[in-house]
Amino acid sequence: MAFETQLLQYVIAGLTLGSVYAIVALGYSMVYNATKVINFAQGEFVMLGGLVTIFLYSKLHLPLLLCILVTIPIVSFIGILIERLTIAPANVGGQDREKVVVILIMITIGVSEFLRGGAMLLWGKDPLGLPAFSGEKPVVLLKATFNPQILWVIGITLLMVIIIRFFLTHTILGKAMRGSSDNQILARLMGIDIKLMSMASFALSAASGSMGGILITPMTLMSYDGGLMLGLKGFCAGVIGGFGNVTGAIVGGFVLGLLETLGAGLISSSYKDAIAFLTLLLILRFKPTGILGAKAILRA
């Protein structure tokens, strides 16, 4: 295979992977902006998106599109449940914000474990799949062949993130969601219901995360622990792009995806997983606010 073709192959793979990272990073961003919580269970929404759809499709034999349309609200609802049952109770009490944040983060880690464990019980340990959305026939572009599902992944992701970004930056509800955690008193005075913003951010991040899972499962299969690494790497992507920054999440996601596939392809594939975390460390060391500059979770 010619080098250019190989390179194109890696780039396309990178954009595909980057799509998922972007979705996850965006999820972190939404929740963080609304609640100042870093939701380490973000990756599990992706996992649930894939597995719930598989359940509806394989066990209940519903048509694929219906499965997708039903799964998203289900996972969204799970997101709201998490917020109501675990974040809201822990947030009470006028403690120093920084100390509460550490506790909240550990709670989300606990939730992530709980969901993973539960998924293992319900779906077993084996990876499961979904049919490709538009068939298996490979698409050819400039002598590079790739799975048509990629078009769905990248396409729908771009659509989703553009819509979400527009929502967060140009609508009143979206701006309220972003800003309500900065100054809760001010937000309340302006009539913003903080509780609602908190729930909405979880619902939205769960919904988008689940969509990500649905999109990639036909390609990469999904298992009970598929969300763990995605969640962690998506977090790295968020930091790389600038944590809390909505555009940064998207940029960070795609940048990380490309770094990972190019690194794996050109340098070494055994250290593929390390790339995300190495990049994280480098960003923390040299530009902690990320590529596009973060909202400060990390003040000097």
Partner: protein, 327 residues
């Protein structure tokens, strides 16, 4: 030395009694083995308890330092034939230097820097353990790690190692108790109480946080060293992210404000899976649930609960006009 001087050590004496007497009643190798693990996990968790309770920081990579301690000693003893007791200081030194570097780069900044850096470091080292096959044996593992010997006696049985581990744990608790009750402990608690005020009275939060972090990493590597020479075999799977979370769970459940919380958490989370053997599949889910529930409802963990209970008992005793138990 009078009774008042020995008062802070009463926990250590109780633990000494329990661990000294237990082998008389517990004969099975299996149970002794469990108690060895409780000891090693206590050291790991103690580091996190000090870090979280006294420096207010989270480390998401404790398993990484655990692994470095284990593999450095394992590699030096297996591949270079070095005496394990010489490998120990090297192991601890390497881990401490790494921790110092990480702490130095991140702890002067407010926020979750250290948590993120330890997340990255822990995972990267796990990947290194798997991929540096020539050095670590990779996923197949590092084998034939020699047992420890003291004065010609080889510690190759569970019971002998049990004695070593618990002597070490008791000694570490002795040191940590001294530290916590000293000027240093006060300084760290002052940082938790009011960081700015502590700064104005000469406490440098940066310096203390780094030292506590290095200490937590050193304890982890000590534990790793013990593990390597007990099991005589290393596989990367016990040094991955899920173990970092497990140790953190032990810290929270045991109670992060008391050094004894490390012991309680390690004990509970080592014994519980044994009782739930039948429900092994539920393990991960239960851990998650326990962590969340404890964090929301029992913030002070088991140590806090015991503290509450003992105070309640004392109050009742006082009300009944009985003999007042010393505070």
């Amino acid at each position: 030395m009078n009774r008042r001087d020995l008062h802070p050590y009463r926990g250590i004496f109780i633990l000494l009694a329990i661990t000294a007497i237990s082998p008389l009643f517990i004969r099975s190798h299996y149970h002794i083995n469990l108690m060895v693990f409780i000891g090693m996990y206590t050291l790991l968790t103690l580091g996190l308890t000090l870090l979280l309770g006294y420096a207010g920081q989270v480390s998401l990579g404790q398993a990484g330092f655990y692994g470095i301690g284990a593999y450095v000693s394992g590699i030096l003893t297996v591949k270079c034939g070095i005496n394990p007791w010489l490998a120990l200081p090297v192991s601890i030194l390497i881990t401490s230097v790494l921790a110092f570097f990480i702490g130095f780069s991140t702890l002067h900044l407010k926020g979750l820097y250290l948590a993120m850096a330890t997340l990255g470091v822990g995972i990267i080292f796990h990947i290194l353990f798997v991929e540096l096959k020539n050095l670590t044996g990779g996923a197949i593992g590092l084998m034939d790690i020699p047992s420890l010997s003291i004065g010609g006696i080889k510690l190759d049985t569970d019971l002998k190692f049990y004695i070593l581990v618990w002597i070490i744990v008791l000694f570490i608790f002795f040191l940590v108790t001294n530290l916590v009750n000293s000027r240093v402990g006060r300084g760290m608690r002052a940082i938790q109480g009011h960081e700015l005020a502590s700064n104005c009275f000469g406490v440098d939060p940066f310096k203390y946080k780094i030292k506590v972090f290095v200490l937590s990493a050193a304890l982890a590597s000590l534990s790793g060293f013990l593990y390597a020479h007990y099991i005589n075999f290393l596989s990367p799977s016990v040094f991955d992210f899920s173990f970092s979370i497990l140790f953190l769970t032990m810290t929270i459940v045991g109670g992060r404000e008391s050094i004894w919380g490390a012991l309680y958490g390690a004990t509970l989370l080592t014994l519980l899976p044994e009782f739930l053997r039948r429900y092994e599949d539920l393990n991960v889910m239960i851990w998650g649930l326990v962590l969340v529930v404890v964090l929301i409802f029992f913030n002070r963990g088991m140590a806090g609960g015991l503290d509450f209970l003992s105070k309640w008992v004392q109050e009742r005793f006082k009300k009944k006009g009985g003999v007042r138990i010393g505070t």
